[in-house]
């Protein structure tokens, strides 16, 4: 134990602090996901529309968000906008804003992809049976789109959870930040804590994301 620095975990409330750090990360991703999914669906549907102006605007939004490293976005929102507009943003709120912007962009692209992957003849056979366009969407197109979408959006959620590790850079005390604090505090007594604590962080991320990606795989297989 001594060699790996795991004993630090048992000291004081260290284990609980790490878990609550993970809780912060999970909360931020969950809130962002809940915002991103409906907005992403809306924008994704708009992206399949014929209106060129709307499509161009959405495309630009998507590209900007994709090209920009998430850390830069976090800095812009947290340090940049608070200066320029003079408002007060907590690190957590800034994180939710950035993750929602990012999640919405990614989600809209997934929705667009799922929608255009439904073959034309699905629309036509439905029409030939006398289904109205609304019925066609309700019973044929949306169910198929959702089946394609769910595994993909679950993967997006795990990507978000992982990326929350960046928010320590704007002062949010999430799991990685807690880990740093613990390591710092025990620097003299347990010089090996870095290994044990980061190993724990690794396991925590793994435990948070693994079941989610298992679920995605299972759904993918079931609906293939």
């Amino acid at each position: 134990m001594q060699g790996l620095g795991l004993e630090v975990l048992l000291k004081g409330k260290n284990a609980a602090r790490l878990l609550s750090g993970l809780g912060v990360a999970m909360r931020i991703s969950l809130v962002s996901v809940l915002i991103s999914i409906p907005l992403g669906i809306l924008l994704g549907v708009l992206m399949t529309r014929k209106n060129i102006v709307i499509r161009a605007i959405l495309k630009i939004y998507l590209e900007i968000i994709r090209i920009m490293p998430q850390l830069v976005l976090l800095f812009i929102v947290f340090f940049g906008t608070t200066r320029v507009f003079g408002w007060n943003l907590s690190g957590e709120t800034a994180s939710v804003i950035v993750f929602s912007l990012w999640g919405t962009a990614e989600m809209s692209d997934l929705v667009r992809g799922a929608l255009i992957s439904i073959p034309q003849h699905q629309y036509e056979s439905a029409a030939a049976l006398g289904l109205t366009p609304a019925q066609t969407y309700l019973y044929i197109i949306i169910p198929q789109t959702v089946r394609r979408l769910i595994p993909l959006s679950i993967n997006l959620i795990t990507r978000m959870i992982k990326t929350t590790s960046l928010i320590l850079m704007i002062g949010v005390v999430e799991v990685l930040k807690v880990a740093q604090q613990i390591i710092e505090a025990n620097r003299m007594s347990s010089p090996n804590a870095a290994f044990g604590i980061y190993l724990t962080v690794f396991v925590l991320y793994f435990l948070a994301c693994w079941p989610i990606s298992l679920l995605a795989k299972a759904l993918e297989k079931r609906w293939a």
């Binding site: 699905q122 036509e124 056979s125 030939a128 049976l129 006398g130 289904l131 109205t132 198929q144 089946r147």
Partner: protein, 253 residues
Amino acid sequence: MSDVILTLRGVTKRFGENGVLEGIDLDVKQGEVVVVLGPSGCGKSTLLRCINALEEIQAGEIRLEGEKIDIRSKSLAGVRQKIGMVFQSYDLFPHLNVLDNVTLAPLKVQKRAKADAQEEALRLLERVGLKDKAESFPRELSGGQKQRVAIVRALIMHPEIMLFDEVTAALDPEMVREVLDVIMGLAAQGRTMIIVTHEMQFARAIADRIVFIDGGHIVEESSPEEFFTNPKTERAQNFLRTFLFETVKKTAE
């Protein structure tokens, strides 16, 4: 037997500059089986798609039992229920099992009772030998089985007329027969049908009338006997020769 139920008058279809159908006139009588033949790309699929208002026509009109088929009309979904269509590509809904594929339209479009729709679906599936597949999903079926389900899915709507667009063209040869047999059975029941096919023996056996299309026009219209033994136009002779050549080669092997 002699009431005309479908009339086409001067039906003209263009894709941009490209004219595909140039004024097609056609009457189909109750209980009649019309087989449409013609070289690839002559507009056979387009003709069927126009009848079902999947394509907009630029001129002319199409009437089913006197009712005009108009892609813009509010009653389009209503007219379409009277037309059953089966396409070349397997177009079952992949997220629904066979029974749900078949009963979706009767339940949602015709608002029939579930028990009634399911009972008829099972009866029709039994007739095409697929009752035991009612719970299967399309991906679990062979091409021939999928096409038989697609036929049942159209039949359950009680259409006035059935349109078949090369429903066996994408099938492995050993599955063609099972699908054609189902269609032969429908003909025996006196169903009105327009069939596009490349199976010449089948065309000859099932048709009451052959309509040969080339260059956007109906070039020849006659009984199957006459069309296959004594085609009047040179274009029809050439068309038939391509099939004949295949047969000669096969016997020579």
